[in-house]
């Protein structure tokens, strides 16, 4: 044997032993069967129908009873990869207009009947083309779909009107539960008050004002799963009580998120018994400036408001007391289309030299003739993190000579204020179930195209860029358009001001395994991969 092959053999041996070591490490992490997962949920589901509701109060206790056609890959920390669920595999036509899915065979509903393509078609027809009297919350997302077909019992086909890059991601939505076609044919409202799905857990009981219980589905199509015997969701609205529950080891995990203070308290009290998972959160607070009101129609003024904010110092300080942290543009940092930090620093308000930024802000305000401007900032009456962010904003604006008074409006009345444009500057908000530019950027397109634009502006360049990125041929081209969109939105025109990205903190009992945090609190709640150690 020559020297090279001896080195080669040695290298191979190292690699192999490494692989064995890693393998045994993973083998040690073998899931244990049994146990009941207990978790508090801050709000109770208003109805059991995910097609109609928007709140996580529906997802957390009820999602384990259902499956979707596709799911977001639960092991991917960015929460952006569509993966197979009831749809086993799929093909996309060359022109991107036809998506064909092969369904799994032998999937049973909880009543024993088999799931076939007619169930998928009936469910998606309900979502995309809701019959009169049926509310489909996400109908607007599926304007691209022309028709849903079920040519044979295990094939479903979607025909699109134009090639939408994000279509697969939209099918992976955690809200698109597959219902039983026969039931829907008889009563379209049945699912609002009943449960019948194909999911890993069977429905046991829902005691209003108290708890929700599910138990293991022994005939689940994913053999070997779920690992848990069951789960119990406790409806506890007070956040300090939720923390106390985890601390008192009465609950294992809370799936929405805790504050930094809660995390520190739990860590201090329980030490190793607590594991903390953290991630950027697909939610962000933005400052909406009413372009119809002077002086916010002047982009110099808007730019000044963004330049005044020291986002980096703010991130350090606020991340200690609030659920915000990352400095972000229009996409959650760490996800495929997010702008890297050094490029982000080139946008207005994201520069590292805050003194220079603030000096420019003062100059712009003076030029616009509104030095020492004073205005009212309207905010929504939700404590976390609206309150800390608003205190920070007001303080930062003070540094460039602006006097800002805050007016807090009750949550239920807030939408009315925004819709009727009864504000100068207000707090706006967006949360998504997956990080996808089509979903995240829609809000910033022109007002006449999209009613959730509370800046009340029209910008055709933005609209054009939005369309371009939605139909881009490949990832690099799409990234380019997204960057351009971001630059126009946050730097050239400053139509909206991003504050800091929310930060999701999940301190949970170290007994909980198999659950990966993602940027969305709507994802990964089926509990089929979760197991409890002793």
């Amino acid at each position: 044997m020559n020297t090279l092959s001896r080195w080669g053999a040695a290298a191979l041996a190292v690699v192999l032993s490494g692989a064995v070591a890693v393998g045994s490490g993973i083998a040690q992490e073998k899931p244990r069967y049994g146990g009941e997962l207990v978790f508090p949920v801050p709000s109770e589901p208003p109805s059991y129908d995910a097609h109609r509701e928007q709140t996580f109060g529906v997802i957390h206790p009820v999602a384990p009873h259902y499956n979707g056609l596709l799911q977001v890959d639960p092991t991917d920390p960015t929460g952006t990869k569509p993966a197979a669920e009831l749809g086993e595999s799929w093909t996309i036509s060359k022109d991107g207009l036809v998506y064909t899915f092969k369904l799994r065979k032998g999937v049973k509903f909880h009543d024993g009947s088999e799931m076939t393509s007619k169930d998928v078609k009936a469910s998606y027809d309900r979502i995309i083309f809701p019959p009169p009297g049926v509310l489909s919350d996400r109908k607007g997302q599926y304007g691209v779909v022309e028709v849903v077909e079920a040519p044979d019992p295990y094939t479903v086909r979607f025909r699109l009107k134009w090639p939408a890059v994000s279509f697969l991601a939209s099918l992976a939505s955690p809200w698109n539960w597959i219902y039983k076609a026969d039931i829907l044919a008889k009563d379209q409202h049945w699912y609002e008050t009943h449960i019948m799905g194909t999911g890993p857990f069977l429905f046991v009981e829902h005691v209003k004002g108290s708890h929700w219980v599910g138990k293991k589905n022994p005939n689940y199509w994913d053999k070997g799963k779920p690992y848990l015997d069951g789960y119990r969701a406790l409806f506890i609205s007070s956040s300090s009580a939720q923390v106390a529950a985890v601390r008192g080891e009465r609950a294992h995990i809370q799936f929405r998120g805790f504050t930094p203070a809660d995390r520190d308290t739990l860590k201090a009290a329980l030490g190793d018994k607590i594991t903390v998972q953290e991630s950027a959160w697909d939610c962000i607070l933005m400052v909406a400036m009413n372009h119809q009101k002077k002086p916010f129609d002047d982009k110099r003024v808007r730019r000044a408001l963004s330049l005044a904010l020291d986002r980096y110092e703010g991130s350090k300080a606020l991340s200690r007391i609030a659920i915000v942290k990352e400095v972000a543009g229009v996409q959650v940092p760490g996800t495929p289309y997010a702008t890297p930090p050094d490029e982000l620093a080139k946008l207005a308000g994201y520069g590292k030299d805050i003194n220079a930024s603030r000096a420019e802000a003062r100059k712009l305000l003076k030029e616009a003739g509104v030095e020492g401007l004073s205005f009212t900032f309207k905010n929504r009456a939700i404590p976390m993190p609206y309150e800390p962010v608003s205190v920070w904003l007001i303080d930062q604006w003070r540094q460039v000579g602006l006097t800002v008074k805050q007016e807090v409006v009750e949550a239920a009345a807030y939408y009315g204020v925004l819709k009727k444009a009864e504000f100068d500057v207000a707090m706006d908000f967006q949360c998504g179930y997956t990080v996808e530019p089509d979903l995240d950027l829609y809000k910033f397109t022109s007002r006449d195209r999209n009613p959730s634009n509370y800046g009340f502006y029209e910008d055709r360049v933005l609209d054009d860029l939005y369309q371009k990125q939605g139909r881009a041929a490949d990832i690099e081209e799409r990234k380019r358009y997204v960057r351009q969109f971001e630059k126009r939105l946050l730097d050239d025109e400053v139509h909206y001001i991003m504050t800091l990205q929310w930060h999701r903190i999940i301190p949970h009992s170290s007994k909980v395994h198999g659950w990966q945090i993602t940027p969305s609190h709507y994802l990964n709640n089926q509990l089929d991969t979760v197991w409890l150690s002793q």
Binding site: T259, T265, P388
Partner: protein, 299 residues
Amino acid sequence: MAITPPMDAVEVIPAAPRSRWVAGALAFSRRRPLGAIGAAVVVLMIAVALTATLIAPYDPLAVDFGAMLAAPSAAHWLGTDAYGRDVLSRLVYGSRTALIVGFGAALVGATAGAVLGVGSAYFGGRIDLVLQRFMDIFISFPLIILALAMVAILGNSLPNLIVAITIPMIPRCALVIRSSALSVREMPYVDAARAAGYGHARIVLRHMLPNVMAPYLIMMTAFLGQAILLEASLSFLGLGVQEPTAAWGLMLRGAAVEFAEAAPWMGLFPGLAISLAVFAFNLFGDSLRDALDPKLRTL
């Protein structure tokens, strides 16, 4: 055998008007030390509120992210809160909010209630019946729910908050004063006065008002404490005063609860301040009630 004159005799001593007040106050203090302590604390609170700009070491709104959650020290006597604002300064300025809300609500509430109660008692008959129904209706509403609804309608601002707190209190005051006024109404000399042609206003002012003075004052002091507590509760629920204003109830919200173990000073001092203020008002009012009308049923 020396006969000790009764304490009330102190007031009989002829003296210049100012020292009569002082003498009266001293007599009150001796007979009712609890009430005196309460009054003293109230006066102290008022003094603090009036001199807030002088005695507060920092601007209560000054955010200082470098000094977040700092423990009490030489720089910050009572520590700082989650935004680095000085707790002592916020406490001092918070007394202003508390007193404005407290006095505002109590004065308006007690006076409006007195007017309604006296009017209802004096005019009697159908007016009385209708007014009583209205009062009953408002009283049957849980206090905090009515305040909640008022805040939701009027919006979040200090004057609106005072209105929201006052409205549930008016009927309670009205009913109490009504029963006191009624006992006068039934006296024959009122009928005689009417028969003699005296105007309504004169009868009310001359005969009924002195009788309702006692319950009026008692209700007002009772309301003062309750108004402060109600403001604190509403702020705690997020419906009262808003950030970044300094108010005691507001200081007990959110971060104070979350950091209760790591930074207990944030919640401890505002809680103590509220307790002390309400305690003082109630002590004073309790002694007042003892002196004037112990059996008053105030709901």
